[in-house]
């Protein structure tokens, strides 16, 4: 690496060294070797695996359930962030502190807990089933519920800082110019928080696609109905079907990277609007 500029600060050698070594060992090499090893499969093999009916069904389940969960969280997360930032009411700080629970709680614990909660005899499952005939555990609804739980913090925590830092000037300007509260929200405030909302949504969606621990308990894992993509990978692994597991994994990786890329673009675009303010 060319030194185009004399480094005034010390420590370049050692920090770069450690960083590179570590990053290679932990991330780069394993990821690369997976790509390399899966090349053995060949394009035909890859396609065959991926287009297998059961795999496709699992991908569809993962995709749709994550999407639904991300949408639910987009709306709820926005409401939660709004309420926490803008209103004052008892227990507000409690709610604010509780938001990170899905990050702090192990996914397996969340999984078993949500399952028991939503079975036909559970605290939530029982009334829902008796009153509305709706089952949550062991259905796709259960998957959606679990993913929703896991991804609550994503939207709330990305929207919250934006709301907090939003200068009241914008809304005051709108008010003076004659905008009613609805106009102020939809025309002025919403565009400001939309980038953050989209980022949170995408992060939630990406996370939901790959979620394993909290979902497998509640899902029931019935192929073609409630089997999720990570489980497909897992079962192929258990059958020592490494090639096929890798193929599906690669596909999911590609999806994740695409989402990551989109999130990045969104952030860049939002930053360009913010300009220098």
């Amino acid at each position: 690496m060319k030194r185009t500029r004399k480094k005034t600060l010390p420590g370049f050698g050692i920090t770069m060294g450690v960083t590179l070594a570590y990053a290679s060992l932990i991330v780069l090499i394993p990821m690369a070797s997976m790509a390399v090893m899966s090349a053995d499969l060949g394009l035909a093999g890859f396609w065959r695996t991926v287009s297998d009916a059961r795999t496709l069904a699992a991908l569809k389940v993962s995709f749709l359930c994550s999407l639904a969960a991300a949408l639910i969280n987009a709306v709820s997360g926005l409401a939660l962030a709004w309420v926490i930032v803008r209103y004052r009411f008892p227990l507000r700080r409690f709610i604010d502190g509780l938001i990170e629970l899905p990050f702090a709680l192990p996914t397996a614990v969340a999984g078993i807990s949500l399952t028991v909660l939503t079975t036909d005899r559970g605290w939530v499952g029982k009334p829902l089933f008796e009153l509305l005939g709706v089952r949550i555990a062991y259905t796709q609804l259960g998957i959606i519920a679990a993913i929703t739980f896991i991804t609550i913090p994503f939207v709330v925590r990305t929207v919250q800082p934006v709301l907090e830092q939003l200068s009241p000037d914008y809304e005051e300007a709108g008010l003076i110019l004659g905008a009613g509260p609805a106009s102020v929200f939809f025309r002025i405030v919403f565009p400001e928080i939309l980038p953050a909302l989209l980022t949170g949504f995408s992060l939630a969606f990406a996370r939901g696609l790959g979620e394993y621990g909290s979902v497998i308990f509640i899902a029931g894992n019935i192929p073609f109905r409630t089997e999720i993509a990570p489980l497909v990978i897992m079962s192929k692994l258990e059958q020592f079907n490494y090639d096929e597991a890798t193929a599906v994994a690669l596909l999911m990786l590609v999806c994740s990277f695409v989402i990551m890329f989109i999130v990045n673009r969104l952030q860049v675009r939002a930053a360009s609007f913010a300009g220098e303010k």
Binding site: L9, P10, I26, M34, S76, F103, V124
Partner: protein, 278 residues
């Protein structure tokens, strides 16, 4: 701005009510459920489950992997943050993206990746078996997988703070003759301590709770390669509900501790006008 901003009264009530309901259903109830199921029959059964030898070994293993992951990732996070924010070099963008990769990867895939590298089919296998090193289906594999999954946490918290801070103070120190470690310890570290602490907390939480990746890499050998979440899984699947929830209650306790710690750190860092955590 007084009344004009407070907004529509009905909307306000509705939103607050909605928030309470949502939080209760999704966050409070699951927590309560765990505690209920664990203590349903009193304290004794809970205690017995938790002091079961397999449970204890699983707990020990969880703690071990967590500590290892936190230490390694913190050291890495500090180095990476320093390298990335204090220097400009080719490939910096790539490195930053690299750091974010584990975030985007499903835990199961993370486990798979290590199997493909260090497992029987992995290219490193011949080398490893020649030296009789077991990684996959053994404790080292668990540690590696956990490290992978929690890789970005510390770095991601520190980097924005350091970027926003600028290099003035460090440059001033260096000009006055301070060496790398001294500068780092006395100038940089105080500024990032809350971000660092926050990252460590997040890393710990994730490491303790990691399930998917370790599930792939572990051999599910009771007492040997089971972390606590894996232990919980086995118990649940065998319908040992009480025991699994008892173990889960332990993790709930750690989760609550983590939440409290995080809130405290955030509260302190906010008061400290010098820097911010997020």
């Amino acid at each position: 701005m007084d009344g004009w901003r407070r907004g529509n009264g009905t909307l306000r009530v509705f939103l607050i009510a909605f928030s309470f309901v949502f939080i209760t259903v999704f966050l409070v109830l699951p927590l309560c459920q765990v505690l209920w199921k664990a203590f349903e029959f009193g304290f004794r059964p809970f205690w017995e489950s938790v002091s079961d030898q397999y449970a204890l070994k699983a707990l020990k293993l969880s703690v071990l992997t967590t500590v290892a992951a936190v230490i390694c990732n913190t050291a890495f996070g500090l180095c990476a943050a320093w390298a990335v924010t204090r220097f400009s070099f080719r490939g910096k963008g790539f490195l930053i993206t690299l750091i974010d990769i584990p975030f985007a990867v499903s835990p199961v895939i993370a486990g798979l990746v290590f199997i493909m590298t260090f497992g029987r089919l992995g290219w490193a296998y011949p080398f490893l078996s020649a030296h009789d090193i077991k990684i996959v289906f053994a404790v080292p594999g668990l540690v590696l997988a956990t490290i992978f999954v929690t890789f970005p946490f510390v770095a991601r918290e520190i980097i924005p703070v350091l970027t926003a801070r600028g290099t003035d103070e460090e440059e001033a120190a260096v000009l006055m003759g301070s060496g790398f470690f001294t500068t780092f310890r006395r100038v940089t570290l105080p500024h990032i301590r809350w971000a660092l602490l926050y990252g460590v907390i997040l890393c710990t939480a994730r490491a303790m709770g990691e399930f998917g990746a370790v599930s792939v890499v572990s051999g599910h050998l009771r007492g040997r390669t089971n972390t606590l979440p894996l232990h919980i899984e086995i118990l649940f699947r065998e319908y040992h509900t009480l025991q699994s929830f008892s173990a889960a209650a332990i993790l709930v306790a750690t989760a609550v501790l983590i939440l409290v710690a995080r809130n405290i750190v955030e509260g302190i860092s906010r008061k400290d006008a010098d820097y911010y955590v997020r």
